[in-house]
Symmetry: C2
Subunit: 276 residues, 2 copies
């Protein structure tokens, strides 16, 4: 089976690297005149999948907005993943999970690969409990041909202090040390140029290059395009030589165009072209 990274890069070539974030906020449900319920959520997701057709390489549902409706919301997530797989689109579930031991292994069993409960292609993770604590997820990802995106630099200003704190034993920042450990793992576990562990790096952040230079073998998920203020142009300028491995992600800029299928389709097409 082809690795997640290779499947993404092939699809990005034939479709576009643009990642549609699926963040069905309460405000969005209201703007679409949908009921504030799992049924409303299901209608929104169906409309988005219909509009997307086979245009997108990857989508990124934000788990919190499905968890909001309990098990009924999670059923909608299951259908959403199925609907996008039918369109040949990869699904990256964004839940920033992280824990230790059998718990973190359970997250991998829940989300990653065809034998998991949700059968997603990739997931996001956080490393507050240490990069090493995520090892069971990484191993599972390698075996299942799936991907993991570890948050290295988030797009919000509140994350700066922690992410740029300095490790007491070696002088590197938290973000840089994560980047180095990601690259070390990818070097050991990638068939091609790009390995199974990607990094989340907010497109809104200045001076990302020193950290990006430590991630030569990673896909870089870049949230913060659109509503949060960054443009595709910003991303190309900030990522420079790493822009070819970037996955620019935006949600509201597209979903605000609904519930019209035609307007959604046009906006998806526009974002796909702009991100190429």
């Amino acid at each position: 089976m082809k690795s997640f990274a290779q499947r993404f890069l092939d699809l990005a070539e034939s479709r576009s690297p643009f990642c549609l974030g699926i963040d069905p906020t309460p405000q969005l449900l209201a703007a679409w005149n949908l009921p504030h319920s799992a049924e409303g959520l299901a209608q929104m997701c169906e409309t988005v999948a219909t509009a997307a057709e086979e245009r997108l390489a990857i989508v990124k549902p934000q788990l919190a907005f499905f968890e909001r409706f309990g098990s009924h919301g999670i059923q909608v997530l299951e259908r959403l993943i199925e609907a996008f797989h039918e369109r040949g689109t990869l699904v990256l579930v964004d839940g920033k999970r992280g824990d230790i031991g059998s718990t973190v292994e359970a997250y991998a069993q829940a989300y990653l690969g065809p034998a998991s409960a949700f059968r997603a292609d990739a997931m996001t993770a956080h490393a507050y409990l240490g990069f090493g604590s995520l090892e069971p997820v990484f191993t599972h990802a390698v075996n299942a041909g799936a991907g993991v995106f570890v948050v290295v630099r988030s797009s919000n200003k509140e994350g700066v202090a922690l992410q740029t704190a300095v490790l007491s034993n070696d002088g590197r920042t938290v973000a840089d040390s994560l980047a180095d450990m990601i690259t070390e793992f990818n070097e050991q576990h990638s068939e091609g140029e790009v390995g199974p562990i990607g990094a989340v790096m907010g497109a809104t952040i200045e001076n990302l290059l020193p950290t990006l230079d430590r991630l030569p073998r990673s896909l870089i998920l870049a949230p913060g395009i659109g509503h949060q203020g960054a443009t595709f142009e910003d991303l190309r300028n900030r990522f420079e030589r790493h822009a070819a491995r970037a996955i620019p992600s935006s949600s509201r800029a597209v979903l605000d165009r609904g519930p019209s299928v035609e307007q959604l389709r046009d906006e998806i097409t526009k974002q796909c072209e702009a991100s190429r």
Copy 2:
């Protein structure tokens, strides 16, 4: 409505501070001769609730083990929360969630308080995206009479480097700065001595006192008892003057006694007494 902290402290007084972790691992399902499915999970949870009766102040289901079975697993979680509420037991969902903006607000809407989807009494959160990024969860918790436990020092060794990294602008460690921000929030938002934001501090860690001293107004969730190697005695020694606000948590030491309801009941009783 009484705050989560006050409800816990009252129950800890009349029952015990012991927190039963509900971590239904694949190994445990097998050991109980249960099918590896949502049905097996449901049977285990029902047996645990039956055995617990009204002995426990608080339980801590680990979300990953429910997510492993997709929406069917989440239905089991919903029933579990209901079953423990019927027994007057508080439910702390352990998912270490964290994100920004409307996403983190959505986690609060999913889990915290009687108007949420899961109606839990408290949840765990991580601050990799910054303490400030969790503000919507904290505010929601205050309004819903719920609690949030932020991971400050985890029980595993892989987390040490990040959690003891030093903020470049002020010389405090990541863990100490989180502790200070927790206390500042609690001072502004608590009716009594103890505020809505607790801290997760692994009972396995040495030299916790300097950080604990920065958390005078927090409940302290202390995982790592039992299987991970710490004892109730260790906890009392390591927490000293803070032990009265500790919530010692253990899962496997109890659940290994199943599927016998009698043996589970005896072990729960034993742990409740030992943790007093």
